[in-house]
């Protein structure tokens, strides 16, 4: 019996584990691992003290705050509106639903600089939307609010596209059963539907958050780039590169990689806990 089952495992319907694993490792190495490691190598010419001085400079630390806080707020906002958007797109049939669905991907497709310039113009004090807010004394373009809006823009597809397939597959029998057992509508959502989409929502949140920290193209236009106020970390890296300070730029890049890694890693841990709780 044991022998038989072992043999069965080896003979998968589609063979080629060796080949596909080889391709996976080569691709990951060439495109992700080696470039990332080269960042560490680029640091080898820089002394430890220089690295520490670069990454703890007060102006640089201020940019971490701007980048992290704006990305976090943007990711949270995206979670709320992402669930609503995904809900609308999967649960209801209405005219232009497919077109609306296609719009979700636009932030992926659009060159980020184009998005940045468009957002800056619309949200500036003389723009369509910025003008309205200007009347009540709220400035959007060239402030941290503007940065957050740009990050919401680029983060929305991550959240919607993570949740959508889960919502589509979710069997409506659960909701019907809950309703027949007398649960209120809000209770059905929060106790039946929400736990199902939570792991996917966490993935979307993590992706949007991590992407927001690294985003450059769309943000530099709408940020005022004033030190200690509206400078993002990627901008500091760019300006260090322009000053030929490759060591400093790389050191700060490494900090950003660590930020992103910690975010995605903690999301993964959180997710496995959520999954266990859901199964148990």
């Amino acid at each position: 019996m044991t022998r038989f089952s072992l043999k069965r495992k080896k003979n998968k319907v589609i063979p080629g584990f060796g080949l596909s694993m080889g391709i996976t490792i080569s691709m990951l190495s060439l495109i992700v691992m080696i470039p990332l490691l080269s960042i560490l190598l680029a640091l080898s010419g820089t002394s430890f003290n220089q690295i520490i001085a670069s990454v703890t400079d007060s102006q640089v630390v201020a940019t971490y705050k701007v980048s992290l806080i704006c990305s976090l707020i943007a990711a949270i906002v995206n979670c709320v509106f992402g669930v609503i958007l995904a809900w609308i797109l999967t649960r209801y049939q209405f005219p232009c639903r497919r077109i609306l669905d296609g719009f979700i991907e636009l932030p992926f497709a659009l060159p980020t600089a184009v998005a940045g310039i468009a957002l800056t113009t619309i949200y500036s004090d003389t723009g369509w939307i910025g003008g309205l807010f200007n009347k009540i004394g709220v400035e959007i373009s060239y402030t941290t609010v503007g940065i957050t809006i740009a990050l919401i823009f680029i983060g929305i597809p991550f959240v919607v596209r993570s949740i959508q397939p889960v919502l589509e597959k979710l069997d409506s029998q659960y909701e019907e059963a809950a309703m027949m057992l007398g649960a209120s509508r809000s209770k059905i959502f929060f106790k039946v539907v929400f736990p199902e989409i939570l792991p996917a929502l966490l993935t979307g949140f993590g992706l949007a958050f991590a992407r927001g920290i690294g985003e450059y193209g769309s943000v530099v236009f709408i940020a005022g780039n004033i030190p200690y106020k509206t400078q993002i970390t990627p901008l500091i890296i760019m300006s260090k590169l322009e000053q030929f300070d490759y060591g400093g730029a790389t050191a700060i890049a490494l900090v950003m990689i660590i930020f992103s890694f910690v975010i995605l890693f903690s999301i993964n841990i959180l997710q496995s806990k959520v999954n266990k709780a859901a199964k148990g």
């Binding site: 373009s141 060239y142 000053q243």
Partner: protein
């Protein structure tokens, strides 16, 4: 409120204006930059922010950017030329090793020489770049303020390496004017 994409001309300008008084120069820059609301990543970005998005009261710009803005939006803006400014000259060069490898030496040198021909110098002037040929520059005296005193990186500030170290390196004057008090 002002906004600006280029720091160095003003840093050098102040130095010239205060005849080398370091403390006064830094203070001037601090006062100036405390009013700056947007630092775009490039000069054209600054022009867009100021001219198209109407951000700020004053744009500190390159001469050609200023002229272009006025040309695009006639009657909306006034150009104020300072008494002292700095000569900015992007470099153009034929790189021997590359033109030899590609066999483009002749055409590259011809292009380089053309840039200094009367025809090209006039084209530059028409597009608001100061011609380097003094005779042709005079023909554009209606456009450019020829009384403007122009400081030079090499002769007035000891070259780019020294100027970069003094103004733009980490912890140098530009970082100092933004350090929190």
């Amino acid at each position: 409120m002002e906004q600006d994409g280029i720091f160095w001309p003003h840093g050098l300008f102040a130095k010239e204006y205060y005849a080398g008084d370091e403390a006064k120069t830094t203070q001037f820059l601090k006062d100036l930059y405390s009013n700056v609301t947007v630092l775009d990543t490039g000069a054209r970005g600054s022009t867009t922010t100021f001219v198209e998005n109407k951000k700020g009261d004053v744009l500190l710009a390159w001469e050609n950017e200023a002229f272009l803005s006025v040309k695009e939006h006639p009657g909306e803006y006034e150009i104020i030329t300072p008494s002292i400014s700095i000569l900015a000259q992007p470099s153009v060069a034929v790189v021997d090793s590359i033109v030899k490898k590609r066999g483009t030496e002749e055409v590259s040198k011809a292009y380089l020489q053309y840039l200094y021909s009367d025809e090209a110098q006039k084209l530059a002037g028409e597009n608001f770049y100061r011609p380097s040929n003094p005779d042709i520059l005079k023909e554009f005296s209606g456009t450019f303020d020829l009384n403007l005193k122009l400081a030079n990186i090499d002769s007035d500030f000891g070259g780019w390496a020294a100027a970069t170290k003094k103004f733009f390196a980490d912890g140098a004057i530009f970082d100092q004017i933004y350090k929190k008090k």
